[in-house]
């Protein structure tokens, strides 16, 4: 199936300040993305911005799909101004998604900030396992999708840096306390996405507690298909491309 396609904006809804939910209708039938896969989106048909922007699959709804994004710079600003009916050039789905957990494994999801975007897709794909979600943001107004997760049967633990919602502090510490209390009975597997600092702390925790887990990495990208070698991260097996061998990597593989 063609991974180069056009999609029409169905809706581009502002959820909270700087966070938007974009619903797209592909002009052709596309391959169903797996949680952790991403799309490269051209926000402009002109030459500036030049490169496509990578966004994770947030949700797949009967052939339409949603991206959840935060405005951080030029490209995402332009994207936030798109109106229903606008047409975007897209490449994808790309990359390797989250591997499914083993049959009797309990699932822990960890999200920091906009890292919640792919976690929704992941939670949905394994909702019968009633995953636990540890979700950290800066402040209360950045907390997204709480009701959606709850109605899916996800057990939510929230922290904010300023304590305005949930526990005060960073989410890795919340997870650490949870694990230290030995609250996890069954063998579990962790899936995480968030800022580099969070993933780095998480990998420390993972090695301390011998946790099995996978993290979605970010890196600046140009091609999205493995040819430019621009998006590599350091791993124990040498440089690996986030767009091709990733974005999801076993947590112990990344060198920080």
């Amino acid at each position: 199936m063609n991974r180069v396609f056009k999609a029409t904006v169905v809706e581009n809804k502002k959820l909270i300040n700087n966070h938007y939910l974009l619903t797209l209708h592909p002009a052709v039938k596309i391959k169903k993305p797996r949680p952790g896969n991403f799309f490269m989106v051209a926000v402009e048909t002109g030459l500036d911005p030049l490169l496509k922007r990578p966004f994770s699959i947030h949700r797949w709804i009967d052939g339409n799909f949603q991206l959840l994004y935060r405005v951080t710079g030029k490209g995402t600003k332009i994207l936030s101004e798109k109106k229903p009916g606008n047409i975007l050039d897209i490449l994808g789905p790309l990359g390797k998604g989250f591997p499914f957990p083993g049959k009797d494994r309990q699932v822990i999801l960890v999200a920091g900030g906009i890292g919640i975007a792919p976690m929704y897709a992941m939670a949905e794909s394994i909702k019968d396992k009633n995953p636990l979600l540890f979700y950290g943001t800066k402040t209360k107004k950045d907390v997204l999708l709480v009701d959606d997760f709850r109605s899916m049967g996800v057990d939510l633990r929230i922290s904010t840096d300023d304590g305005s919602y949930g526990v005060k502090g960073n989410i890795v510490n919340v997870l650490k306390k949870y694990i230290a209390r030995d609250s996890l009975k069954a063998p579990y597997v962790m899936y995480a996405c968030g800022p580099a600092i969070m993933l780095m702390k998480l990998s420390g925790l993972a090695s301390e507690y011998k946790m099995k887990g996978y993290i979605a990495m970010e890196q600046n990208m140009a091609c999205g298909i493995g040819t430019c070698l621009g998006c590599v991260v350091k791993t124990r097996k040498g440089h690996k491309r986030v767009c091709k061998e990733g974005p999801v990597f076993p947590i112990e593989e990344i060198i920080w």
Binding site: L51, L91, N220, A222, T227, L229, H239
Partner: protein
């Protein structure tokens, strides 16, 4: 009825069915693009730069976007010539297009050994010698910037290589047309230009360079006017064919390079934006020729009409 336009071009002893090729480092080893482009429609595939031994390249972040362009500091990461021959050549042999292998060494000896090794591989049609990567150490940069060293390394490779030899020039010199003459004199069959222009970008919040390598090579539409000028300058100084590149996105961009003196063109950064662009450019050139009544693409090389014949 007008004849079908003839897009065939010769690069030394190498004949291409049309003048459009991929630029090294932007097309992998061809396989990743097979999904997006009918590779047999291309004049040639130029593969990512190879060295005798595999290389890890530079630490990340390696790319940063700039207005209408991008900086890269990949650092010539590659799988090495042996792996390339074993894992990538079988596919490339089936592509029904010419295969040009871009390569480099860290010493004259390594350049020579690489050229020797590649010359005996079935299915490789020409060699493109990279002496112009801006992301290498100072000691390496001289291959493409010090005319004496350039002459020495090109001559050495020339004697070792049994295939048409293309030398890829650096734009990071005072007078590229002089370097072009040096390469020609040392035995190059053709020239590729330009490689990326050394540049940098800084994040003002963190005050850190956007690339781990601090500097990188600028490519994309932002460099096209510079590249075009350089092709035009070299065209007037050398007698060997020029492969023009730098910011080509459309067939009109490609035709500009041909008018400035290029016999063929290579498309780089544009592949990242439109994966099918190379094939579109071939089609666009054919349409232009039909509508302009041009029978052979070779008639367009250097056909820029200048009022004065400035020297």
């Amino acid at each position: 009825m007008a004849n079908k336009p003839n897009l065939k071009v010769n690069i030394g002893k190498l004949t291409l069915k049309n003048p459009v090729m991929s630029a090294s480092g932007t097309f992998g080893y061809g396989d990743e693009y097979a999904e997006f482009v009918d590779l047999s429609t291309l004049g040639a595939i130029v593969v990512k730069g190879l060295s005798l031994k595999p290389k890890q390249g530079n630490p990340p972040p390696r790319i940063a976007e700039t207005p209408s362009g991008m900086l890269n500091a990949i650092g010539l990461q590659n799988i090495g010539i042996d792996n390339f021959i074993k894992k990538k050549m079988p596919f490339l042999r089936t592509c029904k297009t010419k295969v040009i292998v871009n390569f480099f060494g860290d010493s004259i000896d390594e350049y020579v050994k690489a050229a020797e090794k590649l010359s005996s591989v079935d299915g490789i049609d020409a060699l493109e010698m990279n002496i112009s990567c801006p992301n290498k150490q100072e000691g390496w940069i001289v291959f493409g910037t010090d005319p004496k060293v350039t002459h020495k390394v090109v001559s050495a490779v020339r004697s070792a290589a049994k295939l048409p030899l293309i030398v890829k020039l650096s734009p990071n010199v005072t007078d590229i047309s002089y370097m072009a003459q040096v390469a020609e004199d040392a035995g190059a069959d053709a020239l590729s230009l330009i490689n990326t222009l050394t540049g940098m970008a800084i994040d003002v919040q963190s005050r850190k360079p956007k690339l781990a390598n601090i500097t990188g090579g600028l490519s994309g539409p932002a460099i096209k006017p510079v590249a075009l000028r350089m092709v035009w300058e070299c065209f007037r100084k050398v007698h060997i064919p020029i492969i023009g590149m730098g910011g080509i996105i459309t067939s009109d961009d490609a035709i500009e390079f041909i008018l400035a003196g290029a016999s063929a063109v290579a498309v780089g950064t544009a592949n990242f934006i439109y994966p099918g662009v190379t094939s579109d450019i071939v089609r666009g050139i054919r349409t232009y020729m039909s509508s302009e009544g041009i029978t052979s693409i070779t008639d367009l090389t250097g056909a820029i009409k200048c009022r004065t014949n400035r020297l």
